[in-house]
Amino acid sequence: MSLEQQLISLLTLVRKEVGRVIRIWLQTIVPPIITMSLYFVIFGNLIGQRIGEMGGFEYMQYIAPGLIMMSVITNSYGNVVSSFFGAKFQRHLEEMLVSPMPTYAIILGHVAGGMVRGLMVGAVVTLIALFFTEVKIANVFITLSVVVLTSAVFSLGGLVNAIFAKKFDDISIIPAFVLAPLIYLGGIFYSISLLPPIAQKISLLNPILYMVNAFRYGMLGVSDIDITHAYIIILTFAVGLFGVCMILIKKGVGIRE
C-alpha cells in the first residue's frame, strides 16, 4: 500500500468512527452532559457553597477543570472500548483485518473516534460550566495539549481493554473497578495538599492526578504537581500504550485465532 492509500484507509476508519459517534448521539453525547450537569449542581453549587475556597479559587471554579477532564477521560475510553469490542463481537472487525490496511491506521482510526467523542463532550461540559462559574484559561497551549493528549491516552487504554475483552462483562470491569477509583482519587474534587503525607505519596502513583492537575494548571494556573512531570507521564503513557496496541494487533492477540 502506498502512503496515500494508507492515508485513505485511515481517513475511512476515522469517518466511520466519527459517524458512529454522531449517529448515536443520544448514547454518546447526551448522557455525559446530564451526568456532568448534576455534578456541577450538586458538588459545585449545593455542597461547594459550604466548602468555600480551594487553591485560591471558589470550589466550583476549582473543580470545573477536573469535571471537564473526567468527562473527556470516561468518554474517550468508553467510545473506543465499545466500538472496537462491538466490531469484534459482530465480527465486522474482520473487514479491516482482511484488508491491507496497516496496523497503525486501525489504531489511529479508533483512537480518533474516541478523541472526537471525548473532546466533543469536554467542550459541551465546558459550556455547561459557564452557567455555574467563571471559566478561565491561563495558558491555552497547556490546556489544549493536555486535554488532547489525555484523550488520546484513554482512547488507547480503551483499545487495549477491548483487545483483551472476550465478553461484555470484560469491557465494564476496568471502567468500574480501575478507572472510576483512579478518576475520583485523581484530584478532581480536592487538592492533594489536604491529604495526610502518606496519602499524598500514594496519590502520586495515580497517573490521572497528573493529567487533572496539568489541565487545571492550564486553566487556572494552579497545580499540585510539577507540569513537566505531568507532560512526561502523559507522553510516556501515550507512546507506551500505542506501542502495546501495535504489538497486540500485529500478533493478533484477542482478534485472531
Partner: protein
C-alpha cells in the same frame, strides 16, 4: 503463476485440536477451484490462515507470489473474502459497508462510491443501498458480503459457503454472476456443501478431510474416477415388483420409480435395451445425486469402513 500456493500448512489450536496436518495446494491464476470436505475437515481454518484471520502453526502461504509471512499486506491487497458466517455491521447502511471496505483497501472515496454502485447493481442490491444491513433478508446479506468482497476488484476471491441458506433462484443467479467474474479473470476458491454447485462451477477440486488433502485433481479427471452412477427412472406404467435387469442392481422406490446402479463398465444403452426387453417404458431419467456428490460420499464412506476395518 499460482494465485495461491500452500505448502505443509499446519494448525494446532490452543485446545490441542489439530485442524490442519500439513496441507499443500496450488491454485492456478484464473481457476475456479473447489475446496471441499465434511464439517470440521479444516476448510475454514485453511481459509482463515490464507486471509490472515487465523495464525498458522507452521507452513507457507503465498498469494500471487506474496508470502503472508514477509509481504502480508501485498498478499491481502490481492484477496477478497466472503466468510461462512455473517460478519456485517448490521447497524450500518448497505452503501456505507461497501464504500468503507473500498476505503480500507486504499481506494479513494469517489472511486469507491462508483465501484460500490457497480457491484451493488450487479448483485441487485443498489435499490437497498440506504437500508441498514439488519433489515436485509438472509440472501441479501450474503449478496452484500459478496459485493463487499468484490469492491476492491480482488484477483483472488475466496468464497466460504457463499450460498448457504440461499434459495435456489438466488443461488442460480449467484452462480451466473460468479461464472461471469471468473470469466473476466478473477480466480475463485469456493467451499460449499452443495456439491452440485462445485461440479457445475469449478474446474479443479481438492478434498480435505481431517486436516489433510485426500484428493486434488482437475474436476473432469476426478469425475471420471466414479465407478458407478445411480440413476432414477420414472416409468409410464406402475410396476408391481422389482424387475430383474441383467448386470444392474435395481431398487423400486415406488410403483413409478426405479433406482438403478450403473457400473462404469456398462452404458445406458445396455440398460435401456434390458428395460425394453422386459416391457418397461421409461418417461424420464435423472441422476440421484450429482456425480461429485456420489464420489465425495464414496470417498468418505470408504475412509469410514477402512477406519472401522483398522479398528477391528
Amino acid at each position: 503463476m499460482h494465485a495461491l500456493s500452500v505448502r505443509n500448512l499446519v494448525k494446532v489450536y490452543r485446545n490441542g485440536v489439530q485442524a490442519l496436518r500439513g496441507i499443500s495446494l496450488d491454485v492456478t491464476e484464473g481457476d475456479f477451484f473447489a475446496l471441499l470436505g465434511p464439517n470440521g475437515a479444516g476448510k475454514t481454518t485453511a481459509i482463515g490462515i490464507i486471509t490472515s484471520l487465523v495464525n498458522k502453526t507452521a507452513g507457507e502461504v503465498r498469494v500471487f507470489g506474496h508470502s503472508i509471512d514477509n509481504d502480508l499486506n501485498a498478499a491481502k491487497a490481492c484477496l477478497g473474502v466472503v466468510p461462512q458466517e455473517l460478519n456485517l455491521n448490521t447497524f450500518d447502511r448497505v452503501l456505507n459497508i461497501v464504500v468503507n471496505q473500498a476505503g480500507f483497501y486504499g481506494i479513494p472515496l469517489r472511486q469507491g462510491r462508483k465501484r460500490a454502485q457497480e457491484v451493488l447493481e450487479q448483485l441487485q442490491l443498489w435499490d437497498r443501498r440506504n437500508e441498514v444491513a439488519r433489515d436485509l433478508s438472509g440472501g441479501m446479506r450474503r449478496r452484500l458480503m459478496i459485493a463487499r468482497a468484490l469492491v476492491s476488484s480482488p484477483r483472488l476471491l475466496i468464497l466460504d459457503e457463499p450460498t448457504a441458506g440461499v434459495d435456489i433462484e438466488i443461488r442460480r443467479s449467484m452462480w451466473r454472476f460468479l461464472k461471469e467474474i471468473n470469466a473476466n479473470g478473477t480466480t475463485i476458491i469456493l467451499t460449499t456443501h452443495y456439491l452440485e454447485e462445485a461440479e457445475k462451477l469449478c474446474r479443479h477440486v481438492a478434498i480435505i478431510d481431517e486436516g489433510r488433502v485426500i484428493q486434488h485433481h482437475p474436476m473432469a479427471d476426478f469425475l471420471r474416477t466414479l465407478q458407478q452412477e445411480t440413476i432414477l427412472l420414472n416409468t409410464r406404467d406402475p410396476l408391481p415388483e422389482v424387475p430383474t435387469l441383467n448386470g444392474f442392481k435395481v431398487t423400486r422406490n415406488n410403483p413409478h420409480e426405479l433406482e438403478v446402479e450403473v457400473p462404469r463398465e456398462r452404458d445406458l444403452n445396455e440398460l435401456f435395451s434390458s428395460l425394453t426387453a422386459v416391457g418397461i417404458h421409461v418417461t424420464s431419467v435423472r441422476n440421484e445425486t450429482s456425480r461429485l456428490e456420489e464420489l465425495f460420499f464414496n470417498l468418505l464412506e470408504n475412509k469410514g469402513s477402512s477406519t472401522r476395518d483398522n479398528q477391528v
